[in-house]
């Protein structure tokens, strides 16, 4: 690196002055460039491979009747309905609690002594393993109702969605300028009116995006459902009975020797992956546009 300082022969000194960097430093730069770009390329391979293989293996089986038949008739209608039911229950439970906690953090939190504590707990809640959430929901609901059920599954997913909704709501509300709150207060609005008519309304698109992201994440969760909602091959008998869902369908049937069921696994993967990626891409694009403004 400092070889040019030690060189005594004028000719080589001249050579080195013309080349911007000594060989070793130049080599190091090229080597590290190559490593970094190669690693980045490697990082993309799994994603591309997953997309390609799922589509290639699943598309041939994609038929309309699959959406209306239950698993015993080689469809995934009951799993789609089950996922929709469980996620709806989860959203009904987590959205109000999450939005109000987000309001607490963004609107009350600036002066409230407990705000940092609440934010800290929410962050910790984000990292709780999903299987632990499943065990929690099992203990608190399945043991009480003595039934694996959509409600228990919904409760588990609500616990997973809650911190996501809290944090995205807080971020969304913080983007609303303080001037708008002051303007509302100056016109005689109280805190309830200011929060709901002005702040939440302005932040509504961003909050919706956060909720959609949470729903997308929850629809792909398998582990908590395996110990709470379980699975059923046929249409579910009600909210308090075992309910099928797309992720659990894939997990339960991926080793099934029956080729028709095996095809079902790949085809339902297209539906699940398509759903989850579509929501993620759309909501991320929307939030990114907002940030640029």
């Amino acid at each position: 690196m400092s070889s040019h300082q030690n060189s005594k022969i004028p000719q080589s000194l001249a050579n080195e002055l013309f080349s911007p960097l000594p060989k070793s430093r130049q080599l190091f730069t090229y080597l590290m460039n190559a490593i970094a770009l190669a690693f980045t390329f490697i990082a993309l391979i799994p994603l591309l491979s997953i997309l390609w293989e799922i589509i290639a293996r699943g598309i041939s089986g994609l038929k309309l009747e699959m959406f209306v038949n239950p698993v015993i008739d080689f469809g995934f209608g009951n799993a789609i309905l089950g996922t929709a039911t469980i996620v709806t229950i989860a959203a009904l439970l987590s959205v109000p609690v999450g939005i109000f906690t987000g309001i607490f953090l963004a609107e009350f939190g600036r002066t409230h002594p407990a705000a940092n504590f609440v934010r800290f707990i929410t962050n910790i809640l984000t990292g709780v393993p999903s299987i632990i959430v499943g065990v929690f929901a099992y203990s608190i609901i399945v043991l009480v109702t003595k039934q694996f059920s959509a409600i228990a599954g919904g409760f588990a997913l609500a616990t997973i969605m809650l911190p996501v909704i809290v944090l995205t709501t807080e971020e969304a509300l913080k983007l609303v300028p303080t001037d708008q709150r002051l303007a509302s207060a100056a016109l005689g609005g109280n805190r309830l009116q200011t929060t709901f008519r002005i702040v939440v309304t302005a932040a509504l698109p961003a909050i919706t995006t956060g909720i959609l992201l949470a729903i997308a994440r929850a629809s792909g969760e398998t582990a908590p459902l395996v110990v709470t909602a379980l699975f059923s091959l046929d249409w579910s008998e009600g909210l308090l009975s075992p309910t099928a869902s797309l992720p659990v369908l894939i997990y339960n049937l991926y080793n099934d020797p029956d080729p028709q069921k095996h095809q079902l696994v790949w085809t339902s993967s297209i539906v699940l992956l398509g759903l989850v990626l579509f929501v993620s891409i759309i909501s991320r694009l929307v939030t990114r546009k907002r940030k640029i403004k």
């Binding site: 609440v118 990292g127 632990i132 109280n190 582990a223």
Partner: protein, 330 residues
Amino acid sequence: MKNSANSPYNNSLPLNDKNIELIAKDGIKGWFDQGFTWLVYTFTAMTVAMLFVMSWIIFKEARPAIAKFGIEFLWGKDWDVGNEVFGALPYIYGTLVSSAIAILFAFPVGLAVALVTSENFLPVSIQTTLAFVVQLIAAIPSVIIGLWGIFIFIPALEPLQKWIAKYFSWIPIFNTTDPFGTNMLTAGIILAIMILPTIAAISRDVLLAIPKELRSASMALGSTRWETIFRVLLPAGFSGIVSAAMLALGRALGETMAVTMVIGNSAQISASLLDPAYTIPSVIANEFAEAERGLHIGALTYLGLVLFGVTLFVNFGAVVLVEWVGKKNR
């Protein structure tokens, strides 16, 4: 700032974001505000209570097993459901080793992605697209990654693993005759793929937050780009990058479905990474729904409690580090 909470009409305070209180004090509006405030407090308390109730419930359900096995559960090696003998060591070992392998693979790759997408290697539009695409990996459901792992990744990797086992079996970590694709190494790599976006995204944010002046100063002193990265940027962002790795570790420890599908689910402790293993989340997912109430459920929940404790500790550390970095940068 604290003053203003008590006396919103104090005009001597400068009006800034921190000290406005828009609350109505009396009249019917005051009642509405009181009710609204309490509603917000109630829901917030529910969010906070969630974590504590969860800890308590998990602890309560694990109590039969804690009473029976005590702390020895942690280094018991046998797991015999029929005779009600339960020991956690093979699962703890599998969880820790698979996560360690995951970090080992994901850290350099994640950091490389963070560097490529934050420094000026590529045009900005390509940078943001790359960062966005890598982020999409995080959105793929775990069970689909597991499906890909078992039907596409394992067949692709198996010849390589067989070759390694044939010629390098004198190294203890490869000492397996004729390895089958489902093993600790495969699970570690699958986990690495899943935690990569976490490391890449957080490290990228950390690197982007480092002031431009530091880069310029280093370059002005004659450093090349990589000398700047190694001597200025990485040390400046060190704590942030470490916390990114810790958050990713927390994810890896708790990851269930993909690991269950590719790790082979065999409760043994083997030095060889080409042998099947088992993890805490996997055994819970496999046995919990069919377990008898009593000692079996208790033992599984006890395992859950151990995992809960470890991930809480790791996440706690990461969150504290992130907040500390945030304060330092402000």
